[in-house]
């Protein structure tokens, strides 16, 4: 199974567990968003797959040995912001038959790459494996008809001047002049495809029966193959291998120097942060601060959930501020490492750790904090460049989910709550039995208690321990809703219902209008004007054939029988061929065709409808009846 899909599944399980054990609006939003946002992105990708076009722009003519750049740009509907077009590149030299293919990157919204080419002839660049993926790389849907471009490679501009000659020619005592006999300067070698034709040594070629080329120093210094380091690309090893095989190199462009610097800075910072985390962990103040924090968490959890923990021993004099500073420093460093490296596994691990911690202690952070943190993780997990569009998509999707959940399902769900308490009890009993500790207090009261964030900071137990169950579920909202939220919550279902009804009505009207138009069309079949009737009926036949894919595009109708006979019976094709002549007479000549011709075309129309309708499956039949309205 795809690694990303597996990660998503695992994350859903973690978010589900978080929601299960810490049942509340915030965790519900997180779980819902974890499902909805990738799903929305998938839907966008599905919608955009057929409607996206990848445009490849490349120069038409280049010179051998030059570096030129090509650009791939994705254009599609508005929903393209929610998904990611990807493609690979395939370059083929028509003359030598060499092919080079490699993965590219995400086209978000455009990608540029550079090509160094030491071949000559014609290159055909095409986009291979073009597809639209969702933002998290879970599923991909191929795009059909990727573009192809042909580039003509000319010989490089001739080197001006001859070889450097110093002093007089020792044999003849002449002053340096242009070399007249080319073969005396240096050797000749056999011609290989790709060499410039102007260097062919015609005299020697005529004498022998091989084609020979003049070789001078300038040519020798040209490297036959360039294998540069495509460090900015995805699979560097693939590209290098391919580049070594052919005299063609593809480099994804940003400027190489900038990329290298960026990478170095990134690794430097990561190293610094990791080192600082390690060093801080050794500082005693940090350890005491961490222990103190854990003690507070234990205390809050015990108060809220009636668990029992072993508290850490902490020395009395300790500086709270120092501890807070150190702890924040460590947390921010860790966050910084995650943001810098954007390794999906690290991000998922951090998210799972945050979720597991909240579930373990039975305490949740306030909803805005939780939401922002998990949204940050989600944005970091999205593939492609972090453009404004992708961010806008993520924020919109999360916002919509949050609004829906917060207004429709706020608060705790009693059913889930009781189940999760039951599971926690079982786990606690199990643990107690295994470790041999006492079972007192495990048999717990039925109330559920939640702790506000304030208790974490002040260490006071402000939770209303004695609240009754029902009261807790009504009063305990982790955000306080304004009064108009209730009315909005009531209106929202009505609005949705109205929208659904409107959509249904609109579709109905559309179908009715189309059927009326089709019925009017059919009236023309029996019109007194034979030519008009024949034209209308034959056009109807063509519509049927096109709708089943038997049409031949721009070919004249009289040349269709050849392709029709591959799919349809001989008798039908004969009738069709006979009717084409009637149609041509009706359309192109000044006189009306015979009535018998009109009858023939009418019979052809009936035959077409019955033949093709019988071949259609139920989906196609519905389409024919109600969408295209070809069938009565």
């Amino acid at each position: 199974m795809n690694r990303r899909r597996l990660s998503w599944l695992l994350w859903l399980i973690a978010a589900g567990c978080l929601y299960f054990f810490e049942n509340g609006t915030g965790t519900r939003v997180i779980f819902a968003a974890s499902v909805m946002v990738p799903l929305l992105s998938l839907v966008c990708a599905l919608w955009c797959a057929d409607r996206t076009k990848l445009n490849l722009s490349a120069p038409h003519v280049i010179r051998r040995g030059e570096t030129f750049s090509c650009r791939v740009k994705a254009s599609g509907p508005f929903l393209l912001a929610g998904c990611l077009p990807v493609c690979g590149i395939c370059i083929r030299n028509n003359e030598t038959g060499e092919t080079f293919s490699g993965p590219l990157a995400a086209v978000d919204p455009q990608n540029e790459f550079q090509i160094i080419c030491e071949q000559s002839g014609n290159l055909v660049i095409s986009l291979a494996g073009a597809a639209v993926e969702d933002r998290f790389g879970l599923f991909s849907f191929p795009i059909s008809d990727p573009e192809e471009n042909t580039i003509m490679i000319k010989d490089p501009a001739p080197i001006s001047g001859g070889l450097p000659v110093t002093g007089n020619d020792p044999d003849t005592g002449n002053s340096p002049s242009v070399q007249t006999d080319p073969s005396s300067c240096c050797g000749v070698r056999e011609y290989v495809p790709g060499d410039p034709v102007r260097l062919i040594h015609w005299k020697l070629t005529a004498k022998t029966d091989r084609v020979l080329i003049r070789e001078n120093e300038a040519d020798e210094s040209d490297p036959g193959n360039i294998s540069a380091d495509p460090s900015a690309g995805g699979s560097a090893s693939d590209l290098t291998q391919e580049a070594n095989k052919s005299s063609l190199t593809v480099l994804p462009v940003r400027s190489e120097r900038k990329d290298l610097v960026r990478k170095r800075v990134r690794s430097l910072l990561t190293g610094i942060l990791a080192a600082s985390v390690f060093i801080l962990c050794l500082v005693p103040q940090f350890r005491y601060g961490a222990a103190d924090l854990l003690n507070r968490l234990f205390a809050a959890s015990e108060a809220a959930n009636a668990y029992r923990y072993e508290h850490f021993a902490v020395p009395a004099e300790r500086s709270v501020t120092a501890a807070v500073i150190l702890l924040s420093a460590v947390v921010f460093s860790l966050l910084g490492i995650i943001i810098l490296n954007r390794d999906p596994l690290m991000i998922l691990a951090a998210a799972a750790f945050t979720a597991a911690g909240q579930a373990y202690f039975g305490l949740t952070m306030p909803v805005p904090v939780n939401l922002s943190l998990f949204m940050l993780f989600g944005v970091l997990l999205m593939r492609g460049r972090r453009s404004f569009r992708s961010l806008a998509f993520a924020v919109t999707a999360v916002f919509i989910t949050a609004i829906f959940v917060i207004f429709r399902y706020p608060g705790t769900d009693p059913w889930v709550e009781s189940r999760s308490e039951h599971v926690r009890d079982l786990l606690a009993i199990r643990t107690a039995v295994e470790t041999g500790s006492d079972l007192e207090g495990i048999d717990r009261p039925k109330e559920t208690r939640h702790v506000n964030s304030r208790t974490l900071v002040t260490g006071e137990d402000e939770a209303n321990v004695q609240k009754a169950f029902r009261l807790v579920t009504e009063d305990e909202e982790q955000i306080s809703l304004p009064e108009w939220a209730d009315t909005l919550g009531g209106i929202l279902p009505a609005v949705i219902l109205a929208a659904a009804v409107a959509v249904v009505v609109f579709l109905l009207i559309r179908v009715l209008v189309r059927r009326k138009r089709a019925a009017d069309e059919r009236k023309r079949f029996t019109s007194g004007n034979t030519a008009e009737a024949v034209c209308a009926m034959f056009e109807h036949v063509i519509c049927w054939l096109d709708s089943f894919g038997f049409g031949s595009g721009n070919l004249p109708f009289r040349e269709w029988p050849a392709s029709l006979s591959q799919n349809l019976p001989e008798a039908y094709v004969r009738d069709y061929a006979a009717c084409v002549q009637v149609f041509e007479e009706a359309c192109y000549s000044e006189h009306q065709p015979e009535k018998s011709g009109q009858e023939e075309v009418r019979r052809l129309l009936d035959e077409t409808e019955s033949l093709l309708y019988a071949r259609a499956d139920w989906k196609k039949r519905l389409k024919l009846k109600y969408m295209e309205c070809l069938y009565r």
Binding site: H60, E539, N554, P556, F557, E585, C587, Y588, S589, E590
Partner: protein, 314 residues
């Protein structure tokens, strides 16, 4: 194919064996009152073909062998001073007395002589010393050019190539045809056995009928779209001229009439498109070096232009 024309083709096939398609195309061009450019290798029977057609239709056939020193006056005639009457008398040239003129190796002669043909081709008249002498109807020129053996030849300029209705090639006969041809020529020349199956007047009548063939607006629109698309094509530097569009429509009319119809369809235009327009398109140097031919460009145009058949339903 109309039976009269079938008879002509059969008669000509006695002389040139196995080339009924080319003979049909030449007849089509003649019916459309246009001039024909035969671009071919030497020795495949261009002169014989022209002579055979002329005999079968009862036309006067004359042949001009173009050499670099042929003068315009040889072709169009000249005025000479007559001592007895004291006046200048016009002596007609080859063109005045012929219906079917075969101009061999037209690209071997000077530009002056070539341009002397232009007025004759366009307007069916010649002007000598300010006097205009009309030429006899029908007047058709079949010009041949060999591009092989380039000594002394100049390429025919584009403006002149554009004036020819179609450019055709005959090509080599296949094995059976060549055997039959050799068999026929053992004793005598089959050209002598060719009979006249169609009179000149009948032929003129046919030309008139061709002009009366119906062409609907949709077909004219199609021709116009094709020519305009050819001018904008990326591999083309000079596309099909308006003269080319006129010739295209005339040839389509001739083709439709030959098939026995009195209306032109979109398929007729497609069928004659290559013959009429292949020599009118000048490709860009990049296209030439990339190996793109005019035929491929024309196929491209036909594929991408919407067929007029589809425009009749509304």
């Amino acid at each position: 194919m109309r039976p009269e024309l079938d008879a002509v083709i059969r008669e000509v096939q006695k002389v040139i064996v196995g080339k009924s398609a080319v003979i049909g195309k030449i007849l089509m061009a003649m019916l459309a009152d246009g001039h024909i450019l035969l671009d071919d290798i030497p020795g495949v029977g261009k002169t014989t073909l022209a002579a055979a057609i002329a005999r079968a239709i009862g036309l006067d056939c004359r042949r001009i062998q173009f050499t670099p020193d042929v003068l315009p006056s040889d072709i169009v005639g000249f005025s000479i001073y007559d001592k007895e009457s004291g006046q200048f008398i016009y002596r007609p040239g080859i063109l005045n007395r012929a219906n079917l003129v075969l101009g061999d190796e037209i690209n071997r002669t000077s530009a002056r002589t070539q341009s002397a043909l232009l007025e004759a081709m366009e307007e069916h008249q010649v002007t000598v010393d300010g006097n205009t002498y009309p030429l006899e109807d029908p007047f058709i020129i079949i010009a041949t050019e060999n591009n092989v053996g380039a000594s002394g030849t100049q390429f025919l300029p584009y403006a002149q190539i554009d004036r020819f209705l179609v450019r055709l090639t005959i090509g080599y006969p296949d094995h059976e045809a060549q055997v039959a041809m050799l068999r026929d020529r053992r004793q005598d020349d089959p050209l002598d056995r060719t009979e006249c199956v169609l009179s000149k007047e009948e032929f003129l009548g046919m030309q008139q009928s061709v002009r009366r063939v119906t062409v609907r607006d949709q077909v004219l629109d199609y021709i116009s779209r094709l020519t305009i698309a050819s001018r904008g094509h990326e591999a083309v530097s000079i596309g099909i001229s308006p003269r080319g569009a006129i010739f295209l429509s005339r040839t389509a009319m001739a083709k439709a009439w030959m098939e026995g119809r009195d209306y032109v369809t979109g398929a007729d235009v497609r069928d004659v498109f290559h013959d009429v327009c292949a020599h009118r398109i000048i490709l860009t140097p990049e296209a030439v070096s990339a190996g793109i031919t005019a035929d491929r460009v024309l196929d491209d145009l036909l594929r991408s232009t919407e067929n007029p058949d589809r425009r009749f339903g509304n």
